[in-house]
């Protein structure tokens, strides 16, 4: 070490560097579906269902036979070495000879355009790791699976093939509880190709299933290495733990027959010579033990059901995540969309109302003048005009929209739960249903474009197109992405899936909170407007427009008189209450439920101003603008806001 350097070395960096290079073999990206479609025209490659350090597995359908298959593609950089390809083809040929119920059948293999591939039987089920992760594999069930593993291994050994990588991930269980052993000999293939890569992963990776002679790299490795791995597998299936160091006998930790301790011990002997010499021996021993003890409860739940469940869980999780994300995007999109729509529709309505109000005010004023009683009387009681704007509350639309969407997605999930996901027609239906959820946005997009084409460039039309277009595109892309990734997403290890679940719940919660907040923020109920004006000659000198925003919902009745305006409500406890806006102040009359709790605002001031204007009629006064707000709070969280927009203009002299 550096003698001149008294500082300690950077231990963690050193360790990380030393391990970093080994723990993760260089990352690689699995070939895309398009690439594969070009390379394998006879296959319909549907989905990437798994990816490891060495190979990627896809689900596919052989077009001609309409047979479901799994396509295993080795990482492309391996296939660059001719020596590797030759070895791969040799191994694969030997593997293709194996025809056994418990060995994954190889349909085809080869090398095409730089891709080494194996076309193998597709197993609709789960691997042992997934079954264990669900915590639903009892020792009795394990004891029924292990003999099948033994049988498969025995058959391969008889044909001179050593598996070299027996581990739970490589033992597949289909819906009928039948075991298939996968990935024969691939470990050896990797071992010789790139020593720096695989040797280190053998040391640092998960060496638990490896026989000592394998990771020592010394001595010859033969079929007895598989026996050792089998022992580890058996121990883990029985106890849920790995036999590391001085391990506890399974009879003590899992309560299985003591005879199994012997099986485990002997399989895990350090010296190959002291282990069982064939998988058949292990099979016999295990079967002897399982008929002794496990027979009674074994009849309970068939492994097939477990495997089936695991298959569902795998797909279900992915779709759950998918659904939640869709919900989130739809919530955000709806909020945006509705906000744009509201501005577009209601801005015009309000403008129209304002014109109408002014005209009607003037007309009424003129009429009053004609009658000659307008300004001579004091105090001047302004003529009252009422307008009722019954606008649909936008928050309501957002909530309904989101709800409808959520229902659609849930219906789709129910379809999945019925176990029909993945088959042609249901898959089509589910896509259709999910697509329907986006119809409103597409409609908005179309409408906006139509508007643009019809009436020239308008700001609201552009906003409409942008909002709807953005939402529809984003959602469509997300949907397509999830659709493709769903299987991969679901294949992660248990903690990853738990993480996914937790984060999905959080996202769902955030989405709900977001929609609720939006609903709260948006004005609800009905907006009503009261206009009062003052006229001299034929000019409008002063006008007051009082807008009442309330959270009570639509009033049961609105009546207007010459002096004021009255709203009648049904309160939450079914009593009736009337609210009267008279001249310059709001009075709560005949109310049993609306108990005023507080009032803030400057409403009364408005009346005073109007009176002042009237009093000084004839004197020079400037034009005034103002917005005065009264806010009334009532018991039960009811709030009524009265906004007075005042414009007062007085001309000099007559």
């Amino acid at each position: 070490m550096d003698t001149d350097d008294q500082r300690p070395p950077a231990h963690d960096k050193l360790l990380r560097q030393a391990l970093g290079a080994t723990e993760h073999p260089a990352p690689w990206t699995a070939p895309g579906l398009d690439t594969l479609a070009a390379v394998f025209p006879e296959l319909l490659v549907e989905d990437l269902i798994g990816q490891g350090g060495m190979a990627a597995v896809y689900r596919a359908v052989q077009k001609k036979l309409e047979r479901r298959v799994a396509l295993k593609v080795l990482r492309p950089d391996l296939a660059k070495e001719p020596e590797f390809v030759a070895r791969f083809l040799r191994e694969a040929r030997a593997l293709a000879q194996l025809q056994h119920p418990h060995v994954l059948t190889v349909y085809d293999f080869g090398e095409r355009e730089g891709l080494c591939y194996l076309l193998v039987e597709y197993v609709d089920g789960a691997n042992l790791r997934e079954l264990m992760a669900m915590g639903r594999l009892s020792p009795a069930e394990a004891l029924r699976l292990v003999p099948q593993v033994c049988a498969g291994l025995q058959f391969a050994h008889e044909h001179g093939i050593v598996h070299r990588d027996v581990k739970p991930e490589n033992v597949l269980v289909d819906r009928h509880g039948q075991v298939r052993l996968a990935d024969f000999g691939l470990a050896k293939l990797a071992g010789g190709s790139d020593p720096s890569l695989t040797r280190s992963s053998m040391v640092f990776g998960t060496p638990h299933y490896m026989a000592p002679e394998q990771w020592r790299g010394s001595g010859t490795v033969d079929h007895r290495a598989d026996i050792y791995s089998l022992g580890v597998l058996l121990y883990e299936l029985l106890t849920g733990r790995l036999p590391v160091g001085t391990y506890e006998p399974p009879s003590r930790s899992a309560g299985v027959p003591a005879g199994l301790d012997r099986v485990v011990h002997r399989s895990l002997e350090q010296e190959p010579e002291r282990r069982y010499q064939s998988a058949r021996e292990v099979q016999r021993e295990v079967e002897a033990q399982s008929t002794d003890a496990a027979a009674p409860e074994a009849a309970g739940r068939p492994v097939a059901a477990v495997a089936d469940d695991a298959g569902f869980v795998r797909r279900g999780w992915a779709l759950f995540v998918q659904a939640v994300l869709l919900l989130l995007v739809s919530g955000v999109g709806l909020a945006m969309f509705v906000a744009v729509q509201r501005r577009r529709f209601f801005a015009r309505e309000i403008a129209e109302h304002e014109i109408a109000v002014r005209e009607r005010t003037l007309a009424a004023m003129r009429q009053a003048l004609a009658q000659g009683d307008a300004w001579t009387q004091a105090p001047p009681e302004a003529k009252t005009f009422t307008l009722v704007e019954a606008l649909p509350a936008p928050a309501f639309a957002a909530i309904v929209g989101t709800w409808v969407l959520a229902t659609l997605v849930l219906v789709a999930l129910l379809l999945v739960r019925a176990g029909r996901y993945g088959r042609g027609r249901s898959r089509f239906l589910w896509s259709l249903v999910a697509a329907c959820a986006w119809l409103p946005f597409l409609a908005g997009l179309g409408f906006g474009l139509f508007q643009l084409a019809g009436s020239g460039v308008r700001r609201d039309a552009i906003a409409n197109v942008l909002a709807a277009g953005f939402t529809a595109t984003a959602a469509g892309l997300l949907f397509a992405w999830l659709w493709r990734r769903s299987a991969t997403l679901a294949r992660g290890p248990e903690p990853a899936r738990r993480w996914l679940l937790a984060s999905s719940c959080l996202v769902a919660l955030a989405s709900a909170v977001g929609v609720a907040t939006y609903a709260q923020a948006a004005p609800s109920g009905v907006t009503t407007t009261l206009v009062q004006g003052v006229l001299r000659g034929d000019r409008l000198l002063g006008a007051s427009r009082a807008t009442v925003l309330d959270s009570l919902g639509p009033p049961r009745a609105i009546s207007a008189s010459a002096t004021g305006m009255t709203w009648t409500y049904r309160t939450p406890d079914a009593a009736e209450a009337t609210l009267t806006l008279q001249g310059d102040h709001v009075a709560v009359a005949e109310s049993r439920a609306l108990v005023p709790e507080g009032r803030a605002g400057v409403g009364p001031y408005l009346g005073q101003q109007l009176r002042d204007v009237v009093a000084r009629l004839g004197a020079p006064v400037e034009t005034m603008h103002g917005r005065l707000v009264d806010r009334f709070t009532f018991a039960g969280g009811i709030e009524i806001t009265v906004a007075h927009d005042v414009v007062i203009g007085v001309e000099r002299g007559k």
Partner: protein, 243 residues
């Protein structure tokens, strides 16, 4: 450096009565005295006291070969040594009363001063004694791997390159551009990079070899390496609760 019988399994198999076993144990103890020192240092604070305790423990282990309490047949050297150190401390008062052991028995050379100067500042306060032990252990393994690597490089007559290439083991580039360095060392840039790559791979192997030396024959080093990393990470983290 071949993967044959590990040092620790030699101890376990031969026992300390056997000369070879004793020799192996002495080597291991000399290699890993620092963690023990810091364990005591954390519990007894005084460097003198910690040194005496450490020395006493090793004298006890090596001279009397008293391995009753912790059976080397079971588990790893690290766990065994930690257990022994704990027991030794627990018996401290009893021993003082008996006052039989000559306090000055020196069986190992412990350069406490150097240790204090290099790690005194690093003795992370928030770690408890055991965590400190683990952390220093991990550091020792890595240091030993470095020493081993340097020795190998020197033997292979590549020693001149080593001081320049050492930084690549920490994942950094050399302090000067590759080209300059290559010119100075009278070699090509490509060759230098290859050498750096090879050095990294060799370091990994040395690390594994060091780790394996403290394990029984049949235990793969993966778990132990992971634990080393955890204990290093623990030292780098925020304070954690003492057990």
């Amino acid at each position: 450096m071949a993967f044959h019988t590990t040092r620790w399994s030699l101890v376990a198999r031969a026992g300390t009565d056997d000369l070879a076993g004793r020799q192996a144990l002495a080597e291991l103890c000399q290699a890993y005295w620092q963690p023990v020192y810091w364990l005591y240092r954390r519990l007894r604070v005084d460097p003198e006291r910690a040194r005496d305790l450490t020395q006493g423990l090793f004298a006890h282990l090596l001279e009397r070969g008293d391995l009753r309490r912790a059976d080397p047949q079971r588990g790893r050297f690290r766990a065994w040594l930690r257990a022994c150190a704990r027991h030794w401390l627990a018996d401290e008062h009893e021993r003082e009363r008996a006052h039989k052991r000559g306090g000055g028995a020196v069986v190992l050379s412990l350069d406490v001063a150097a240790e204090e100067s290099r790690y005194g500042l690093q003795a992370v306060d928030h770690l408890d004694a055991e965590a400190l032990f683990e952390r220093r252990w991990a550091q020792t393994v890595i240091e030993r791997a470095l020493v081993r690597l340097e020795r190998e490089e020197t033997t292979a007559r590549r020693g001149a390159l080593f001081p320049h290439l050492r930084v690549v083991l920490e994942g950094e580039g050399p302090r000067r551009p590759w080209a300059d360095l290559a010119r100075e060392l009278d070699t090509s840039e490509g060759a230098l990079k290859v050498a750096a790559h090879r050095l990294r791979a060799r370091f990994r192997d040395c690390l594994v070899a060091e780790v394996r030396d403290t394990l029984p024959d049949d235990v793969a080093p993966g778990d132990e390496v992971n634990e080393l990393r955890r204990s290093l990470d623990a030292g780098a983290e925020t304070p954690r609760q003492s057990r």
